[in-house]
């Protein structure tokens, strides 16, 4: 049987890709970010940790979808997905290879579970999908696992509620568990954390909110899922609403989880960045050492 073994969260900002392309991953600005991710890169290569398939939850940033088609929840069922040209040429990364059997199985199961998914058989994937892959796997010739892209509308209002996202995660878990092949499946929630990219309030960062969000995501997701959109907007900035996608990841892990790794950094370009490894408590592996890493402004490196 297939199982959701792991949930990972990651930033997906284009600046991370630019840092890789221009060889800046070790400089004063980007060094701490890539150091923080190195622990995840090393962990995922260990035996048993590498996923067969990642259900990669992200939002399309007006790349595959324009104003003519705004799917709330979509799933990519194609054999492969090309990196999108977002105005500066496609990111120089491998094509994303799908898993049509599992993707179609999940799509059908979700619809039967009252999630009326939008199915895509041709779709380019933008930085929302490919940056997390680069952050986890570096610059390989081919990505080391299959990927099922699951784009969520968080651009045109209203996006789905946190509660709906959390419930979608639970349905993804059930769908994966009814797939007969023996597969290690990850669900990744990407985007966030607090950031605002528009208007005079651009540059908003809310460390207190972010750290509380991480804590609740791990320990009390039922309460967190009830947070209304207005609170995300006020507290985490207009683009911080991407955080609802983390609840999809969390919903796919069941009631209790263990955080194997918990990295938070301010700032990555305009954003606060959070990268977590979570596993269902019953099947959780060893935590990384250090388990908690905070870096950036006014965040003393904490280890426990």
């Amino acid at each position: 049987m297939a199982r959701v073994t792991t949930g990972i969260t990651s930033s997906h900002i284009p600046a991370l890709g630019a840092a890789i392309q221009t060889g800046k991953t070790g400089d004063d600005y980007w060094g701490p970010v890539f150091d923080g991710y190195k622990a995840i890169k090393d962990w995922i290569k260990q035996p048993g940790n590498m996923p067969d398939v990642v259900v990669l939850v992200y939002n399309d940033h007006a790349s595959a979808f324009d104003m003519n088609c705004i799917p709330t929840f979509a799933i990519g069922c194609a054999e492969s997905f090309k990196p999108a040209d977002e105005g500066w040429g496609p990111r120089p990364v491998p094509e994303v290879i799908g898993h049509p059997d599992l993707a179609w199985h999940i799509a059908q199961s979700l619809i039967l579970d009252d999630f009326d998914m939008c199915i895509f058989n041709q779709m380019d994937v933008d930085h929302g999908c490919t940056i997390p892959l680069s952050m986890m796997f570096g610059e390989p010739e081919e990505w080391p696992c299959k990927v099922i892209p699951l784009p969520v509308n968080v651009v045109t209002y209203p996006p789905p509620s946190g509660a709906r996202c959390f419930a979608l995660g639970d349905s993804i878990k059930a769908a994966v568990e009814s797939f007969p092949e023996d597969l290690n499946v990850h669900v990744w929630g990407t985007g966030g954390m607090s950031h605002q990219l528009q208007g005079p309030r651009a540059g908003l960062i809310n460390k207190e909110f972010d750290l509380k969000f991480i804590d609740q995501l791990i320990n009390d997701p039922d309460t967190l899922a009830k947070m209304p959109h207005i609170e995300y907007l006020r507290e985490a900035g207009s683009e911080g609403i991407e955080l609802v996608m983390w609840l999809i990841m969390r919903g796919a892990l069941g009631d209790k989880v263990k955080d194997l790794y918990n990295f938070y950094h301010i700032p990555a370009s305009n954003t606060a960045l959070g990268a977590l490894i979570l596993q269902p408590e019953e099947t959780a592996g060893e935590a990384l050492d250090p388990r908690v890493v905070h870096s950036g402004h006014s965040l003393a490196t904490a280890a426990e």
């Binding site: 900002i13 284009p14 600046a15 630019a18 600005y29 940033h61 007006a62 790349s63 324009d66 104003m67 003519n68 999108a84 040209d85 977002e86 105005g87 500066w88 040429g89 009252d114 651009v155 045109t156 209002y157 209203p158 607090s194 605002q196 990219l197 528009q198 208007g199 005079p200 309030r201 651009a202 540059g203 908003l204 960062i205 809310n206 460390k207 909110f209 209304p228 959109h229 207005i230 907007l233 006020r234 507290e235 207009s238 683009e239 301010i266 700032p267 370009s269 305009n270 606060a272 950036g296 402004h297 006014s298």
Partner: protein
């Protein structure tokens, strides 16, 4: 038949609250409708041949689109706040600043009234604090 919903969000209250956030224009249906062509113009810059035509003669390229004069002027001026007033959304408009070889940090900074240097420094110092910019009415 599953149970009927007991509580529903009041859409009018839901939308009205968005106007209470200082310095922020939420991309509502109303803005999406107003900005339809501006955003579609921006999307067209995802094709290299369109980027070349646009760069060769911006005004002529803009004239091919069903844009208001204000929207055209905002694009020519690279005034991102004005583009957002015209219904633009930053992820759509990113195709324009990417065509210019500019980053999200540049575009976001340009909307704050700060210099690029001051904006970059604010971010390195931990970003804009949320205190006092959460709610206009509440003042918190």
């Amino acid at each position: 038949m599953t149970e009927k919903k007991k509580e529903r969000i009041n859409i009018h209250e839901y939308l009205a609250e968005f106007d209470d956030i200082p310095g922020t224009r939420v991309f509502t249906a109303q803005r999406a409708r107003k900005g339809y062509w501006l955003n579609q113009f921006a999307m067209s810059l995802m094709k290299a041949e369109n980027r070349e035509r646009f760069k060769a003669d911006e005004k002529a390229y803009l004239d091919e689109w069903n844009l208001s004069d204000a929207a055209k002027q905002a694009v020519l001026d690279r005034d991102y706040n004005a583009m957002i007033d015209e219904g633009g959304n930053v992820y759509y408009l990113s195709k324009l600043f990417s065509t210019d070889g500019k980053s999200f940090q540049f575009a976001a900074g340009s909307m704050t009234g700060m210099t690029q240097e001051d904006y970059a420094k604010m971010m390195i110092d931990g970003g804009r604090a949320p205190h006092g910019v959460r709610s206009i009415k509440g003042g918190y």
